[in-house]
């Protein structure tokens, strides 16, 4: 299974190789979607892939190391009332989460494919895309 989480950590935790431990000790595939770090700590958005049990244990490991863990169901949201279905977002989306449905002429947003990179946010002329993390 796959799970997206937002991690908040203190500067101390930033010195622990937490992603490496998730990979080696908890057998998870880790995809880093966003990472920011400064003097007051850091934030990271990860997509974890592995057995449900391993993911649970991995998250417990993070919590025991003082890392704030918040699971997210969605990283980017589209406001369907605002979207004009122009499609400008399609060619800049690196994961093809935005695609064109030739039959309806609409732009389809497939959330499962979205890695919340945020490249679509300021590319959308009517500003229909919002990043939640």
């Amino acid at each position: 299974m796959k799970s997206k989480v937002v991690l908040n950590f203190s500067p101390e935790a930033a010195n622990t190789p937490i992603t490496n431990n998730l990979i080696t000790k908890h057998h998870l595939l880790v995809n880093i979607l966003r990472a920011e770090i400064d003097e007051i700590g850091g934030k990271m958005v990860l997509e974890l892939q592995g057995k449900a049990d391993d993911i649970r244990k991995g998250l417990d490991y993070l919590k025991s190391n003082g890392v704030g863990v918040r699971p997210i169901k969605e990283g980017v949201r589209r406001d369907d009332d605002v979207c004009t279905h122009c499609g400008i977002c399609i060619s800049i989306c690196p994961t093809k989460a935005l695609s064109f449905d030739a039959k309806t002429g609409k732009v389809i947003f497939t959330e499962e494919k979205c890695v919340a990179c945020g490249v679509c946010i300021d590319a959308c002329p009517p500003r229909a895309m919002e990043i939640l993390i």
Binding site: H85, G87, A102, V119, P125, P126
Partner: protein, 372 residues
């Protein structure tokens, strides 16, 4: 009565001769960013009256160099901070949505207009006129933009990723009004059109009207060519077809929906309206080339652009549109239905456009050179 897409299908099965006989009108549509748009207002007179010299609507300056309480708000106008998320276009959308906007005006005061300032609210319910008046809309074909440089470009064609990372285009292609009547045989001054959800008219050729560009065998311009200047009552319009848009690091623009009915006068026009995306081509340009005459990288059909990928400089590049095909189709459908219901009448142009126009450029000239 058919939409452009239905008509093309009909021609495929029945040929142009039969189509010309069986079909009276083909409806077309487009929805895209149209920067050369704006609204003129008459606010009504204040008491004591004011001859407005400087006018702001929700902080966006409108041109007030007209009669006392007339002003024109342009879609791309920004406030002093250049906040692109809220330009003239967004104020126009707010008004269309029924919102009240703050009107501020200052004046030097005259004997007949003694008041020197006013700060109030207006809405479409309070003003005498609010009229959408657009100088260049519904371009007949447009360029395809890509970026060969090593940094992201923010343009009116959207975000262009480095190293030919993507390519964008802006035409509804085979559904687009002016591509279905390439020589403006039925579209001219006085043509009634669908405009922003209401009814409007073509009032003149659009600015930069340039019909002399290279054309395909079928007569379709291969470069940006004609366009139309249009007018319509903003009070009739809806936010579905009038939208404030933001192009990051470029500015604001107005998303406008336009639909034009094309009467099938003869088989020639049926042939024109039968045109499909594989027969409409445009040129791909590298927008990192900072020149008014960029080099054409290649010509490309809208069929290829619509496929989502195009071969540019030996690379398969993701393509996408700035023009909403979904809304273009919706407009063609709405227009068809309102003609069928008798709510929309077809007008013969009172004057057609001259096809003899050349595009002039702006160069730094002396006074004498400018008069030659």
């Amino acid at each position: 009565m058919m939409t452009a897409e239905e008509f093309k299908q009909y021609v495929r099965s029945n040929g142009t001769k039969k189509a010309a006989k069986d079909v009276d009108i083909v409806t077309t549509g487009t929805f895209g960013a149209m920067c050369s748009s704006g609204v003129y207002f008459n606010f009504g007179h204040a008491d004591p009256p004011i001859k407005m010299q400087k006018v702001w609507l929700d902080g966006i300056q409108a041109y007030g160099g007209l009669a006392a309480v007339d002003a024109y708000l342009g879609a791309t106008e920004l406030d002093d901070t250049n906040n692109m998320l809220h330009g003239g276009a967004h104020v126009i959308e707010d008004l269309v949505r029924g919102k009240a906007v703050r009107l501020r005006a200052t004046a030097y005061g005259t004997d007949c207009y003694p008041r020197k300032e006013i700060d109030t609210y207006i809405s479409l319910k309070t003003v005498n006129q609010a009229v959408l008046l657009n100088l260049r809309n519904s371009y007949q074909n447009y360029a395809c933009a890509t970026n060969g440089s090593s940094k992201t470009l923010y343009t009116y064609m959207g975000k262009l990723l480095p190293d030919f990372g993507n390519a964008t285009y802006c035409s509804a292609g085979e559904v687009s009004p002016l591509l279905n009547d390439p020589y403006f045989r039925t579209i001219g001054v006085g043509t009634r059109i669908f405009l922003g959800g209401g009814q409007g008219f073509v009032i003149w050729e659009g600015t930069q009207f340039n019909p002399g560009v290279p054309r395909t065998e079928g007569g379709v311009p291969k470069r940006p060519a004609g366009s139309i200047a249009v007018i319509g009552d903003l009070k009739q319009m809806t936010s579905e077809f009038i939208r404030g848009l933001t192009f990051t690091k470029y500015g604001s623009s107005l998303g406008v929906g336009i639909g034009v009915p094309i009467p099938i006068l003869d088989e020639e026009l049926a042939k024109n309206c039968a045109v499909t995306n594989d027969q409409i081509v445009t040129a791909v340009y590298d927008y990192s080339q900072a020149s008014r005459s960029r080099t054409v990288i290649r010509e490309i059909s809208y069929a290829e652009l619509r496929s989502g990928e195009a071969a540019i400089k030996g690379k398969q590049v993701a393509t996408s549109s700035l023009s909403s095909l979904y809304k273009a189709r919706q407009i063609a459908e709405v227009l068809k239905n309102s003609i069928v219901k008798g709510e929309f009448s077809i007008e013969k142009p009172v004057q057609t456009f001259s096809m003899d126009r050349a595009l002039r450029t702006l160069d730094v000239r002396t006074e004498k050179e400018a008069m030659q």
